[in-house]
């Protein structure tokens, strides 16, 4: 049984021109100790889907889901209050902007202590020891001093480490990292990523890594989901995805990687932008930007075909394999 299983999750937001479908029928399954990467451009609904799992979306959002289970517990049947308690306990999340994700008015220590107190309890001394231990394992030098520091006194990398320490406070079984390195310096990015992977292994957590960096995916994940305009378009184990991408969108993303581009030429890009609320095509959502699109693609939306090892939403897959039909 998987640690997290999500079936047919959709999220819509009310706008002045009706509902905007941010996430459309996505499925997820993460086993304990697995790393799942979700990739896609900005606006593809990666973060929104994960926030829906954490119940962090504003009450105006319309969330529908056939199944939402974490560690065997049915979240859909649970009152909001009880669900909140799982946050930070069973399932934790870190965010894109570490600097603004910490409360500027409280010390880092106070904010970590809060998470420990609410999930684990214990005496003041025990909690302090745990907090210092956490700061140490996320690689913050001089934890005693950093415990008393305010967020504005720390760098972005340090803040993200503190956020990770906070997320680990109650030994979560699943950690969702929403573009954890996007806002950081390139040198720090690698360190944070390395730290996340190390902790994922030592703690035996499941890890969902939301990113738009294919390089990060190649180095870390076992399974990769590619998301486009709120839909999942492809899922494969990382090796297969990089070597035999089936969806033209995946292939285009990979082609845009500098290390894969032919030397001395312009870097290939994907023309156009992700469709918004008003310009959603009738056929395949990627069809206006797809270099392989044919008549059928513009007329009819392909369904998501799910097979054990790979999922695909495309009429004319690339690198066709025997399973495609």
């Amino acid at each position: 049984m998987s640690l997290l299983s999500v079936r047919n999750l959709s999220v819509a937001f009310p706008t002045q021109n009706g509902w905007f479908q941010a996430v459309e029928g996505i499925h997820l399954a993460v086993n304990a100790g697995d790393i799942l990467a979700i990739v896609g451009e900005s606006g593809s609904g990666k973060s929104v889907a994960m926030m829906a799992v954490m119940n962090l979306l504003p009450p105006t959002a319309r969330i529908t889901c056939d199944e939402l289970k974490i560690d065997g517990q049915d979240l859909l049947a649970m009152p909001a209050k009880q669900r909140r308690k799982l946050n930070g306990g069973t399932i934790a999340m870190i965010f894109q902007e570490p600097m603004s994700s910490l409360n500027p008015c409280f010390t880092v220590g106070y904010q970590i202590d809060e998470a420990i107190r609410i999930h684990l309890g214990g005496s003041k001394k025990e909690r302090l020891e745990r907090a210092l231990h956490l700061l140490e394992i996320v690689g913050i030098p001089d934890p005693q001093r950093r415990y008393k520091a305010y967020p504005h006194q720390m760098s972005g990398g340090m803040s993200q480490r503190a956020m990770i320490a906070m997320a680990l406070a109650a030994n979560p079984k699943l950690l969702i990292a929403d573009e954890p390195t996007t806002a950081l310096d390139v040198t720090v990015q690698a360190q944070i990523l390395e730290l996340l992977l190390k902790l994922q292994q030592t703690q035996g957590m499941g890890l969902i890594l939301i990113t738009h960096d294919m390089g990060v995916v190649a180095e870390t994940a076992q399974q990769v989901v590619v998301q486009y305009a709120g839909q999942q378009v492809e899922k494969q184990p990382v090796f297969g995805l990089f070597n035999h991408p089936h969806h033209p969108y995946t292939a285009a993303l990979l082609d845009a990687l500098p290390e894969r581009a032919p030397a001395g030429d312009f870097l290939p890009t994907i023309q156009g932008i992700v469709p918004g609320q008003k310009d959603r095509p009738t056929g395949c959502l990627f069809s206006p930007r797809c270099t392989h699109a044919q008549v059928l693609c513009h007329e009819q939306q392909p369904a998501l075909v799910r097979q054990p090892e790979q999922w695909l939403r495309c009429h004319y897959p690339l690198n066709p394999v025997e399973v495609a039909q």
Partner: protein, 337 residues
């Protein structure tokens, strides 16, 4: 820290000079003069009139009068009241405790009601509690304070008979010498049974009237500060951490919103002292506000000037305290220097 306070105080000097000039000119712009009012309806002879004008120094050019006034101020002499012949300082500080007591209770009520109202309105944004609270706040803010005071007196004092119409104490049943000038404190010090209750009983209606406008402003500002803060990333973090809603709103959001709210409270203290002038007149409250009104109607130049100066100094002092409180509330300011 000391340097910080010193730099703030240095800034106050030009402000203070500006206020002396404004106060000095404004009272002289009023039609009439103290001598005409002192001489009453039957009037006095021209010789006597000239003599009195010279006595108050009003025969000299305005600029000379102003420079003389400044010279005396520097020596700590705020002048004598024309109508009572007593030093302005003495008269002002005799009445200040009554005003401070009223202002203190008013700001207490304004904060205790306004801040929670603002929080509730922000959390229930767009739903009926928000509309009810913000509608009431707008009504309270727009209402002329003297009219509101009279309405409350009509309802609670005249019709229902729950509160006294005016004054600070039931003087038929209680008497004690002022010690601090704060009636509630003096009543408590006197040890007379029921005196404190009587003092509070007299205080309640004027405080409520005086608190109305600051309460409305505080409620509206708290709401907007909370709305801004509730959209911040760290609020999402707090929810993701599994904190209960009351903790996220009451601790994580409120602490940040307070940075703005404290500024507003500080500014409202100024409004409060201005409002006290009207409130004190309506309730015959023997404070500086009522004293100022009397001084103005007597064209008592030194008293009006002195009163304005002291009140401005109080407002400046409150703002200095607010500045100092920033450091305590907002850790980012603490390291700023």
């Amino acid at each position: 820290m000391f340097k910080f306070i010193l730099s703030k105080i240095t800034l106050l000097i030009p402000t203070f000079l500006g206020i002396t000039l404004a106060a000095f000119l404004f009272v002289r712009l009023l039609p009439g003069d103290p001598v005409t009012i002192l001489s009453g309806e039957r009037g006095i002879s021209d010789e006597r009139r000239a003599e009195m004008i010279a006595q108050f120094g009003l025969d000299k050019p305005v600029l000379v009068q102003y420079l003389n006034y400044l010279k005396n101020l520097v020596q700590g002499d705020f002048g004598q009241s024309i109508s009572t012949h007593r030093p302005v300082v003495e008269e002002f500080f005799e009445r200040l405790p009554a005003t401070m007591e009223l202002a203190f209770f008013a700001i207490l009520i304004a904060v205790l009601v306004g801040v929670p109202a603002g929080i509730i309105a922000a959390v229930k944004r767009g739903r009926w509690p928000d509309h009810v609270l913000m509608g009431s706040a707008l009504t309270g803010y727009s209402m002329p304070i003297f009219w509101w005071g009279l309405l409350l007196i009509m309802l609670f004092s005249t019709t229902l008979g729950w509160t006294p119409v005016s004054g600070r104490l039931d003087i038929i049943n209680y008497y004690f010498e002022p010690v601090t000038g704060f009636m509630t404190v003096d009543a408590w010090l006197s040890g007379q049974e029921g005196a404190v209750t009587s003092a509070l009983h007299h205080l309640i209606l004027p405080s409520v009237v005086l608190s109305t406008i600051p309460m409305a402003v505080i409620a509206r500002q708290t709401r907007s500060a909370m709305l801004e803060v509730l959209g911040e990333d760290y609020i999402r973090t707090a929810y993701a951490k599994g904190l209960p809603t009351w903790r996220v709103i009451g601790i994580h959001a409120l602490r940040n919103a307070m940075i703005i709210v404290v500024t507003v409270i500080g500014l409202e203290v100024g409004t409060l002292l201005a409002g006290a002038v009207l409130t004190e007149s309506i309730f015959s409250w023997p404070g500086v506000g009522k004293w100022m009104i009397d001084a103005i109607s007597h064209r008592d130049y030194p008293a009006v000037q002195g009163g304005l100066l002291f009140i401005s100094m109080l407002v400046m002092l409150v703002n200095l305290i607010v500045d100092l409180m920033y450091g305590w509330i907002n850790p980012r300011v603490r390291d700023g220097k």
